[in-house]
Amino acid sequence: MDQSLRERPVARLRGAGSVGLPEEHSPGSPLSVHDLTVAYHRKPVIWDIDLEIPEGKLVGIVGPNGAGKSTLMKACLELVPRSSGEVRIFGEPYRAQRKLVGYVPQRESVDWDFPVSVLDVVAMGTYGRLGWLRPVNRRCKGLAMEALEKVGLADFAHRQISQLSGGQQQRVFLARALAQDARVYFMDEPFAAVDAATERAIVGILHDLKRRGRTCLVVHHDLATVEEYFDWLVMLNMRVVASGPTAEVFTAENLRKTYGGKLTLLSEAATAVSKEAGGAE
């Protein structure tokens, strides 16, 4: 938990034109998206998305409800069909790189009354490595147990998953992705409905991943903590409003473009920004 108290890492600048459109997929980039459009029932939800995420960053994805943040993640992971565009993970299509990608879905995406134990769920993270037909072995369980310890749920390993609180369930999903030991993590609102202590614990885990050179893309709603948590920021509202080092793109102007007329959110953001401005002086 101490990591969260460390200084916010200073974002390194990777060329000034980070908001501009990348022409080529660079092989080193853990995620590069080119010209991506996704539609549900013929209504496009995200348009012409271009992104180039540098390796080893904690990347925040912000935007209002319905902005298409979950959709963007799902499209990158080929969970929803794309209307156009392409996505590269380390320069290759997702299909070829699945083992490198860990996904932490929104908690509401499963039925928590399902008859499995916490350990069983976390062990699912190792199935990819196991391959077809091979039963879950002791090694998998060991890895799962380690991941559970990291998120502080080791005591709950043998509970049925419905006997957990919402924040604990969130951490189970996180542990499952950790057990997978991926290089890029897609996390859809890991901070939703967790208390301050759990949030600190998750931030600690994120920093740990960053230290080990992993890249984390995190959908986030709390604008007050964006600057503290993330060194790269993607601001999304059906299109990419801005993408770049947090210090550069987290501006009142971009926030207005992202959140538009949503007044409460705007004022919330404004206070966050003014606080930041005050602190900088």
Partner: protein, 472 residues
């Protein structure tokens, strides 16, 4: 779960062996082998048992994948296939009696029904359940119409076909037995081999897909498994009831366990048991429709599970809730008495003749108990030997009661302090009901907690720290 599967394997082997043995030497004395003497009855019994095992497995997947309605649509959609296959067979071979041909037809239209559901779902915005309802009734309706047409065809004796509606086990022959055992073996192998894949798919399809598992292929496999069991079960249980035969054992199993593997094993067991019992009952009382009796047997097992299941069963839940309520009440009483006696000074004497009786009215106020409730609580404590007297004037603890009161109070106060001191991590660790705080918090932490109390409130001789907040 491997254990459960092993038991199943052995059972399956024995059942097959028993039927085989009887086929070869059925004139011998085989009363010792199975319940009923008649070869055909026994064949039917073994077949329905195997069918039940296969159905329990396939049904568990349906239930956990939340596809029960899909299974229903599938089974109803088999009816037109059966009749069409019959017409086809009559036209080309002169007789429509081949079971294999009939169930092939059944499988074709059953799967077609599923495809139509999927098409409706992906091409229109009709909701899933509506799509399944539409497919179910339209296909079934078509089947009924075709059936009535066939019955008016001059060349065909169609007496057999109605048995597919409600199920008729008496007409099962040895070839059917092989089909059913084949289906059972296949579903057993599939559930064992694809155990982890199916569990992942049922629990979190999106995650499975993100990891690269071919979820569509797995879904198709699962559907094929259900189709297989459905069509071989049609003759015994019938189009209308087969879905119950798949789903009920699985639902019963869920009452007993919260583990995927055990649920499969138990569902197979329940399915097998209902097949065996149901077919046996209907054999003993000819004229009873087998399918209905089998399903009613499964339903009886379900009711039993609903009541007696150790985890989610009504009885277990009631008993647990009641025991918990009693324990909490008891602890409240003991702590209440302790706190009353404590008013005269820390570390009070709790038992013995010198201790004053505590008036009922005082205790009632402690917990806003009604006089009647309090009497009940004290009476139960008395029966446990915690309370010495319970006369008109008041209550006094026994020695055992005094020890319990001191322990309960101490633990309770340690928890309170712990919660105050470690509010951020506490909620996941606190177990107020635990008897031995040390086991959870460790002796070291407890010493620290006690030390963090103000000096005046340090534990007295009996080790009970003062309450961190004023006592009501």
């Amino acid at each position: 779960m491997r254990k459960g599967a092993g038991i199943l394997c052995v059972f399956l082997f024995l059942a097959t062996a028993a039927a085989e043995a009887s086929a070869d030497s059925w004139r011998d004395d085989f009363a010792s082998v199975v319940l009923l003497r008649d070869y055909n009855t026994r064949l039917v019994l073994v077949s329905t048992t195997l069918l039940g095992i296969a159905g329990g497995l396939a049904g568990s997947f349906l239930l956990l994948r939340k596809r029960s309605l899909m299974g229903d649509a599938l089974s109803h959609a088999t009816l037109p296939g059966i009749v069409l296959a019959f017409m086809f067979a009559v036209h080309f071979t002169g007789t429509g009696r081949s079971f294999a041909v009939l169930i092939t037809g059944a499988a074709v239209t059953g799967l077609l029904g599923c495809v139509v559901v999927l098409l409706i779902r992906s091409l229109t915005r009709v909701k899933d359940d509506a799509a399944m309802g539409i497919v179910l009734s339209v296909f079934y309706g078509a089947g009924v119409v075709l059936l009535s047409i066939v019955q008016h065809m001059p060349e065909a004796g169609t007496a057999g076909l109605e048995s597919f509606l409600y199920g008729k086990t008496a007409s099962m022959v040895r070839a059917d037995f092989y089909l059913v055992s084949g289906a059972a073996v296949i579903s057993l192998i599939a559930s064992l081999a694809l155990f982890k894949e199916f569990r992942l798919l049922c629990f979190d399809e999106g995650y499975a897909r993100s990891m690269g598992w071919p979820t569509h292929a797995l879904d198709v496999l699962m559907l094929l498994l259900v189709t297989l069991v459905t069509v071989v079960g049609l003759q015994a249980v019938g189009v209308v009831l087969i879905i119950a035969f798949l789903i009920i054992p699985a639902a019963s199993a869920r009452m007993w366990t919260s583990r995927f593997g055990w649920m499969l094993a138990l569902a197979a067991g329940f399915g097998g048991a209902s097949g065996w019992l149901g077919a046996g009952l209907s054999a003993l009382a000819p004229g009873l429709p087998a399918g209905a009796v089998i399903v009613l047997t499964a339903a009886a097992l379900f009711v039993l599970s609903l009541l007696a299941g150790p985890d989610r069963g009504v009885i277990a839940r009631t008993v647990r809730a009641r025991a918990l309520k009693r324990r909490v009440e008891r602890q409240h009483l003991l702590r209440g008495i302790y706190e009353v006696l404590e008013e005269s000074g820390p570390a009070p004497h709790l038992a013995g003749d010198s201790v004053p009786l505590i008036p009922w009215a005082v205790l009632e106020r402690k917990r806003s108990w009604s006089p009647r409730e309090l009497r009940g609580v004290v009476r139960r404590a008395y029966r446990r030997g915690l309370v010495e007297t319970m006369d008109r004037d008041g209550v006094r603890l026994t020695d055992a009661g005094a020890r319990a009161a001191a322990r309960v109070t101490r633990n309770h106060r340690l928890w309170e302090i712990y919660l105050v001191e470690y509010a951020d991590i506490a909620p996941t660790h606190v177990d107020r009901d635990a008897d031995a705080v040390e086991h959870i918090l460790g002796a070291g932490l407890i010493r620290r907690l006690e030390a963090s109390l103000p000096v005046a409130a340090r534990p007295a001789a009996d080790g009970v720290p003062a309450s961190p907040h004023p006592i009501r």
